[in-house]
């Protein structure tokens, strides 16, 4: 299932792009991050704790950024696993200048595997939206921080 | 070592104390600590109803309750409903109407039906079907289960009338 959305950040594309490539910023913005470390060029190792309703689990994984077009777009390959299943996603971020800021269009096709796939299918759309909202609201805060 | 908790409950009129881990589900407690294997496990998401027992007079799914939560409770399982020669009207109803085939869901069906008849002694067919929403049967197509509950309701009403006449 393809999921997509867009968020407006009050900051120009160049700054948003920089934020999205800053491990420190990402570790503050990605929901539930316990650790996020650079592990090669544009590649991160991460541990996140996901809590959605009663479901709570620690996922270990990696995030790789590919097909980077400076200040315009990037592709994210995300692979996380936990004892209850695996969550992979291939996503794109497109940055579009708009008024005094940037609209970030995101799209992704999450793949759930294992137990979370057999019980979580009905929730995936909502979960992705919640996580995206959280991420971009924090990114907005980061954007303000950088500017101030 | 894992925590263990003393639990005392009365099951089918017999009071006993054991020390399960908190994570022991009531159904595992009944089956493994007390050897009451008439209560079955058919699923893990609280849908199928094979594990239905009564706790303090109400039908519950014993796979969705920890044994420690039944501290002090009065529990009735299928083994406590009746025995050959002294069957509960529902047990007789299921037998007479061929309300069971493989028998696996039957204890849960009987316990759920008993809850229904306790507050609705004369249910309509659709009320019976609605009341059995939480119990799966793969063998009978529910046809004879409905008849079994009707049979029991009828015989319970008759014996209640007979008793009233005696009083």
């Amino acid at each position: 299932m393809l999921l997509e959305g867009s968020h407006f950040i009050h900051s120009p594309p160049s700054r948003v792009f920089a934020l999205l490539n800053d491990p420190d910023v990402l570790s503050r913005c990605v929901p539930g991050v316990k650790s996020l470390v650079l592990d090669g060029t544009d590649s991160y190792k991460a541990q996140v704790e996901v809590a959605i309703g009663p479901v709570k689990g620690k996922f270990d994984g990696k995030i790789a950024i590919t097909e980077k077009v400076q200040d315009q777009s990037m592709t994210l390959k995300v692979e996380f696993k936990s004892p209850v299943g695996i969550a992979n996603a291939l996503g794109t971020l497109k940055l579009e200048p708009e008024n005094d800021g940037t609209t970030v269009h995101w799209a992704g096709e999450p793949q759930l595997m294992g137990m979370i796939a057999s019980v979580g299918a009905r929730l995936i759309g909502g979960v992705a939206k919640v996580q995206a909202d959280l991420f971009f609201s924090k990114l907005e805060l980061e954007a303000q921080k950088v500017e101030s | 070592m894992a925590q263990v908790v003393a639990v005392t409950m009365t099951v089918n009129g017999v009071k006993s104390t054991h020390h399960p881990e908190p994570r022991t589900l009531l159904v595992h407690y009944l089956r493994e600590k007390l050897g009451l294997t008439g209560t079955h496990v058919g699923c893990d998401t609280s849908q199928c109803g094979s594990c239905t027992v009564h706790v303090d007079g109400m039908a519950i799914k014993s796979c969705t309750m920890f044994a420690v939560q039944a501290e002090g409770a009065n529990v009735t399982t299928i083994e406590g409903m009746g025995e050959i020669g002294h069957l509960h009207a529902l047990q007789t109803g299921f037998w007479e109407e061929h309300g069971l085939q493989c028998g696996f869901c039957t204890p849960g069906m009987i316990m759920s039906s008993a809850d229904l008849l306790s507050h609705n002694p004369n249910p309509s067919e659709s009320e019976i079907r609605h009341a059995l929403e939480g119990n799966f049967c793969r063998c009978t197509g529910y046809h004879n289960i409905v008849k079994a509950v009707q049979n029991a309701a009828h015989s319970m009403a008759q014996s209640a009338m007979a008793q009233a006449a005696d009083d």
């Binding site: 309703g53 009663p54 | 894992a2 994570r23 496990v41 609280s46």
Partner: protein, 262 residues
């Protein structure tokens, strides 16, 4: 099937439960258990401690104070089903199955805020208030403030839901649900309440990522056939029902509920 290990504490009072909760942020309150225990059995959650509040007397029962009915959080669906509480008795009858209703509680269900649960629509339409307790005191929030998103409510860490306040009487109320045939959760459940002052409130559960008011119905909603109350783009979809179909079901359920409530 076993959950992971946890320690069990049977709370002796609300304040005891809150103190336990404060001492272990990973602990979970155990109410009826019908969402939490299956999740733990599938090991989709492994809290290190459970604080059992299900049988606290102070959280049970339904009482009337003036024009308000106060429902204890640990009141079971069954108690509500056999009560005279407006709308909630009708809603409770449609939850899960009899065994779930015998054990599950309204407080547990509301705190859990499953997007497909039945109560939230009714709570919104009734304009109910939710009383929340923490070690520092109590606060009351409106239903509109309470439901914030998928599995997300106004409850902060360390807080617990203790009471639900609903109007003692309304002019009319109805809940119409299109149930998922397997889970029996709402694919679209619409509650409509005509309050004593004549105002109309309506809300839907199941269709979106959380329960929400049907503002279009409330503002225009006097005609009998509802059309286009919600946009599919605001709804969820899965392999059983797409967002577009859910949007249609909202209209159908709203029309039926409206007809009965008026």
């Amino acid at each position: 099937m076993y959950t992971s290990e946890f320690t069990y504490h049977k709370a002796s009072s609300v304040s005891d439960a809150l103190a336990q909760l404060a001492s272990n942020p990973d602990a979970k309150l155990l109410a009826g258990g019908h969402s939490l225990i299956p999740t733990m059995k599938l090991r989709l959650a492994s809290p290190s401690a459970l604080i059992d509040v299900s049988s606290l007397p102070e959280l049970r029962g339904i009482r009337t104070e003036g024009d308000t009915i106060i429902i204890g959080a640990m009141t079971t669906h069954r108690e509500l089903e056999f009560s005279k509480v407006p709308l909630l008795s009708e809603v409770a009858r449609l939850i899960g199955d009899p065994m779930v209703r015998n054990k599950g509680t309204i407080g547990g269900a509301l705190a859990h805020a499953d997007p497909s649960a039945d109560y939230p629509a009714a709570i919104l339409a009734l304009n109910a208030k939710i009383k929340i307790q923490s070690s520092s005191g109590a606060r009351v929030v409106t239903a509109d403030e309470f439901f914030q998103g998928m599995f997300t409510t106004a409850l902060a860490p360390g807080e617990m839901l203790v009471e639900i306040h609903v109007p003692a009487s309304v002019k009319g109320a109805a809940y119409e649900k299109f149930a998922h045939p397997a889970s029996r959760y709402a694919v679209a459940g619409v509650a409509v309440v005509v309050h004593s002052d004549g105002s109309l409130r309506a809300a839907v559960t199941g269709a979106g990522d959380h329960a929400m008011r049907l503002t279009k119905l409330e503002s225009e909603g006097v005609s009998s056939a509802c059309k286009g109350l919600v946009s599919a783009s605001d709804l969820m979809g899965d392999h059983f029902a797409s967002a577009e179909y859910r949007a249609h079901l909202v209209d159908v359920m709203a029309s039926k509920a409206l007809a009965r409530a008026k």
